[in-house]
Amino acid sequence: MNPRPLKDLADIVRSKNAGPYRITFDILFKDKARYEAVRDTGAINPASVAAAYGIDVAQISSFFEIDMANAIKITIKRPRAQGSAGDGDMYGCQHHVPLMRIDIPAS
């Protein structure tokens, strides 16, 4: 089975501020089957997300698999507070790309 990037399997991959000190990522799937297929590979986990962004796993604030929403949610601590010197994304809404490129060993 050839691994495929998450963007080919998910319906929505997005990032957004959750307050000034966090960026939260939502991965949503079209249906339960796709969600479970990706969830069950275990390819999306705190360590793989940390690696995709080159951060320490301690910077992952939380990780949830949300069966009722067919969704996976990961939140990271911002490297710097929203709007402080050097911040390049005030709404945190353009941080999803490394996540959507993670390879998933599912068809």
């Binding site: 000034p20 939502d26 067919n70 010197a85």
Partner: protein, 447 residues
């Protein structure tokens, strides 16, 4: 319990809604119009400066439509986090627009304004009493940090808004309020289950962002005894289990437990049920009141004054040498202006302008967009340093230079632009209060 319908016209007051969607929504017999007007999301500037997030033109236009609709139906209009950050000057600015609307439209009603500014001394007492805990800032709130804070607000819960309703308010302009409380206040005031009302508020506060196709538009929620039903105002949209469930995750960290003023909501047993094509029924939120009542503080401090320069770089030899050039001009500027501190940031678009150190891709760039940003203690110094850097880069000689006439393509003259004061968040902490209404005085006036 009779059903209570809340109409939320849009996700942020001033960001628009469809006239037909509002008319259709009003035909469904809502008991209240409630809308959020702000957030920390646009950044600390609006809190620190007191400037409005949305123009007076847009706020007045939308409030005129909402107040007219509210008066025609005889239902209240509630606005939370007025002006963007809900500070006193922003509440007053919005209230002034309401007075103009009353006069111009020939409408009479009772206006309530609710302040949410927290006196610095009040917060200092809480620091001294050990009644402040960090929320997510990562460090303690200190007396020194409070001295630097130019504006401090707290998020009110539904209680101060209920107090305004108790006083007969027909239009309520509230300062900083927890988004869901703005929507939940009227149903709670009328006796609805706070757990369901607050959960409904969490989804409704973004307007039709919980519908598909999503938009800044009208959304309605109807509370029943043990569930609530969501429906967009416009028949061109629908609420689906997917759109509502997805929105339940939006902009918040924990999908199962969400804290608000004086309470925690448990959403782990929630269920979503499709009703027909366009409605979704939601059940299952549970609320626990916290032993102590904490409110979230939001503070901003002045971080200095900012100037920027924007430039394009097209030459491949310059792009290749860019890191070394940036490091050198930065170092020279720091030395040149020492001992005055200047904070220099290079946003290198096409490379890592958006994500900085989180960027892992190293695709070669054909063209680079550069924003030189300098923050200093005053505007003159920021401008001087920004121009020193842009000038140094323009005529910088580096090994292998092929074009000796200039390294930066400026789209503007002047190349250096003053952006004024810069604010940073200085407080994002929880403070214990004696009562839910203690910090949020309500004033009434009959227009």
């Amino acid at each position: 319990m009779t059903a209570i319908t809340v109409l939320t016209p849009t996700g942020t007051l001033g960001y628009g809604f469809g006239d037909e969607a509002l008319a259709r929504g009003m035909s469904l017999g809502p008991a209240v119009i409630a809308v959020d007007a702000g957030s920390t999301d646009p950044g600390p500037h609006y809190l620190g400066s007191g400037k409005p997030l949305v123009s007076d033109v847009s706020i007045k236009r939308e409030l005129t439509a909402l107040i007219r609709a509210g008066r025609e139906a005889g239902i209240p209009v509630i606005v939370g986090s007025a002006g963007g950050a809900g500070s006193g000057v922003q509440v007053e600015r919005t209230a002034r627009l309401v007075r103009e609307i009353a006069e111009e439209q020939g409408l009479g009603f009772r206006l309530a304004t609710i302040r949410s500014d927290i006196p610095i001394e009040r917060a200092k007492q809480a620091v001294a009493a050990g009644e402040i805990i960090d929320f997510e800032a990562g460090s303690a709130l200190t007396s020194e940090l409070l001295d630097e804070t130019v504006m401090l607000v707290a998020q009110m819960g539904h209680e101060p808004i209920c107090a305004a309703l108790d006083g007969g308010a027909e239009v309520i302009i509230a300062g900083r309020a927890c988004d869901d409380s703005v929507i939940a206040s009227f149903p709670i005031w009328r006796g609805a289950d706070p757990a369901l009302a607050i959960h409904m508020g969490k989804i409704l506060e973004c307007g039709a962002f919980s519908a598909e196709p999503f938009a800044m538009d009208v959304m309605l929620g109807t509370l029943h005894a043990d569930n609530f039903v969501l429906e967009p105002g416009s028949t061109a949209r629908r609420a689906s289990v997917k759109s509502v469930a997805a929105h339940s995750l939006y902009e918040r960290e924990n999908p199962f437990k969400q804290s608000g003023p004086g309470h925690e909501i448990d959403l782990s047993a929630c269920s979503f049920e499709q009703i027909g094509e366009r409605q979704v029924r939601v059940r299952g939120a549970k609320l626990t009141e916290t032993a102590e009542y904490y409110v979230k503080l939001e503070g901003a401090k002045l971080a200095g004054y900012r100037s920027i320069a924007i430039a394009g770089i097209r030459c491949p030899t310059t792009v290749k040498a860019l890191d070394a050039i940036l490091a050198d001009v930065r170092q020279k500027a720091l030395v040149y202006f020492a001992p005055a501190p200047v904070t220099i940031t290079f946003h290198v678009y096409g490379r890592d302008g958006v994500m900085k150190e989180l960027e892992r891709e190293t695709t070669p760039q054909r063209e680079v967009g550069l924003v030189i940003e300098v923050t200093a203690a005053d505007q003159e110094l920021a401008h001087a340093a920004c121009h020193q850097i842009s000038g140094a880069m323009l005529h910088y000689h580096y090994p292998g230079v092929i074009n000796t006439s200039g390294n930066l393509a400026f789209p503007y003259s002047p190349s250096d632009i003053d952006l004024g004061p810069v604010y940073e968040f200085s407080a994002y902490h929880l403070m214990k209060v004696a009562s839910p209404n203690e910090l949020f005085p309500v004033s009434f006036e009959d227009l």
